[in-house]
Symmetry: C2
Subunit: 349 residues, 2 copies
DNA sequence: TTATCCTTATAAACCGTTTTAGTAACCTTT
DNA sequence: AAAGGTTACTAAAACGGTTTATAAGGATAA
């Protein structure tokens, strides 16, 4: 393996100092009084031999790494992996690489990851925060790191964030169920006080309140063991037979919930209406297809990266916390259209 | 932000040379003749203050980065993102970080990524190779980098690889359709000469040949525009009305294929049987549920990382190319069981 | 003429490690 | 007692950049 050419090789070849080259490479030619002649000579030569500076030497000297650390609940979840992909694409164009990891929504794991990222000296942190890491995020902010949280936020910390309108979306979804004649609408959500979950529940309750409807919220402690989750939901539905519609607060709860419904042989949407927060690629292909709240993946990714790049290029202006609230779209499908001509879906060409 | 403590601070505090500390930290105490006393003193102190060496200084000096570059077709595809997650977990325990990127199966993008990774001096490359990068991989191998390919391989390169038994799996799936009474089985696959696609087709053809059945393979040029793909498959099915079963060669082809079938109002499994290569979290919840070839995600990730770590710790022994061929499981569900009692799923409570 | 100021460029210090090449001190051996 | 061998440790070079401090030479001003 041939050794990589270094800035010193170039200095030798061109018979000039490496300082001059470094200045030119960093766009400081004007500022440092390098003649246009030199600049052009250097740039053409570098272009010709395809020189790329050693990023570790750079990072060592400057303390900057052009790397962003991203931690989400589960990087294999389609929602997060899609966002990750979009972010990476944008960041790449700006010369940044992203390091991903999954927190599994585990406080300790998240703390460890922050430590790991600090150790790797990432320039910025993009976090879908698990509960209990308020303090660690505060420390990052005190140490002047660029931090953006998304998908959810934590009470008591002032940090730039990108969220979807969980409250409004849930309100709208619940309203939709009501308008379609469902009388006893339940919500199945996590037993968690994370902001996005709270907001989803509040939106749901608000819609019910407005119509003077009783609500029934079931909170499940999500286990890795699907069978247990399914059984739990099944029992809930079984012991509340008046329920005629369910709002599942996340994609993976819906996964178990739909299996519970199937096990109970309840017909969707006749016996029970179904809405899910967060769409899945395949929901449209279900029979009946599943109504879902669609989050604007691309928009979320764009906004997060945009905030991050602002913070990175502008280390000072931390003052006003920027909060971006994005709307979702309620994609109405068959699972909530009880009175609809059921055949429509089969009359399509 | 308080400055990080360096090895020099420790040397000063302890009144010894930083060389000694470095030796101890790198487990060379014995080899370099450092007394047990010193060693313990150093280790306890370091533990106490929680010192972590600067990874960039380390990388600069050693040329090693403890980083693995991974490039797959699409990191937001559940198959790849699940593998990525498993890999990361294992690699993390061994002190490695993984950098991910999507090639979009684009030759140029893959070349660029290899360049980027070289620039970031990753120690090893894990690649699901797009066509046309044989040469680039060869160069990596010549330059003594650790390389493992998975999911597919490329003709003419000798590189450690982890694959599933595409041929055998497709053979078995096709056989299964035949055994369940399907007479005219079509395959919908990509118009691509990638190894995994070829093998899947060969397995399918072999099964048909054995029974003297005609086969009908449709190759689609996969577009980002779902509507076009769907239309194409629809037309194929329409102009080959004798087809009574379809084998979809990938997850995302099935996505479009299922929509085509739905649009044509063909009943699964009565009018048409369906098998998909690669399972989806939700296939089991479809009505009818979809028979799929399940790839051993965890096992793939484990084997790939295992090979990679062997290569990294053993830079010499490149000689015998290691090929790992993993079996899949055919998960039989309703979409291929034509004679099954169909009513079960609709016998409502 | 000399002091001053630009313009252009560079030598050397620095970032925080690892590794090479020693060196002192002490112990054997002949 | 001189030569050789261990043992225990370290000074300094190296990695490849960026940044700071400084210098050389010509133009301008006094």
């Amino acid at each position: 393996m041939k050794k990589k050419t270094t800035i010193i090789d170039i200095a030798r070849d061109l018979g000039i100092s490496k300082t001059t080259i470094s200045f030119v490479l960093n766009g400081k030619a004007r500022e440092k009084g390098i003649s246009q002649n030199q600049e052009i000579k250097i740039l053409t030569y570098i272009e010709k031999i395809g020189y790329k500076p050693n990023v570790f030497a750079q990072s060592l000297r400057t303390g900057k790494t052009k790397t962003i650390g991203m931690m989400v609940e589960d990087i294999s979840d389609p929602f997060f992996s899609s966002i990750a992909r979009s972010m990476e694409e944008i960041a790449y164009k700006r010369g940044y690489k992203i390091l991903y990891s999954s927190t599994e929504n585990d406080t300790q794991k998240a703390k460890d990851l922050i430590q790991l990222y600090r150790n790797r000296q990432v320039d910025g942190y993009i976090i879908a925060p698990p509960p209990g890491i308020e303090h660690d995020i505060k420390v990052l902010l005190e140490d002047k790191f660029a931090v953006v949280v998304f998908d959810r936020t934590l009470p008591g910390i002032e940090v730039d964030n990108v969220l979807v309108n969980n409250y409004q979306s849930s309100y709208q979804a619940t309203k939709h169920l009501i308008e379609n004649g469902y009388l006893n609408i339940a919500m199945v959500t996590l037993d968690s006080d994370q902001s996005q979950m709270m907001d989803r529940q509040l939106g749901y309750e608000k819609a019910l309140d407005e119509c003077d409807r009783p609500g029934r919220v079931m909170k499940i402690i999500y286990r890795d063991n699907d069978v247990d989750n399914i059984k739990e939901i099944q029992e809930f539905l079984n012991s509340n037979t008046e329920i005629d519609a369910v709002f599942f607060a996340t994609n993976y709860i819906a996964d178990n919930g739909l299996e519970a419904i199937r096990n109970l042989k309840l017909g969707i949407p006749q016996n029970i209406g179904v809405v899910v927060f967060d769409d899945d690629r395949l929901f449209r292909l279900f029979s009946p297809s599943i109504t879902a709240i669609v989050q604007p993946i691309k928009e979320i990714a764009e906004q997060v990266i945009k905030l991050m790049l602002i913070l990175l290029s502008n280390p000072a202006s931390k003052k006003p916390v920027r909060s971006i609230l994005l709307p979702t779209v309620l994609k109405v499908r068959e699972s909530t259209l009880r009175n609809q001509e059921k055949e429509t879906r089969h009359t399509l060409k």
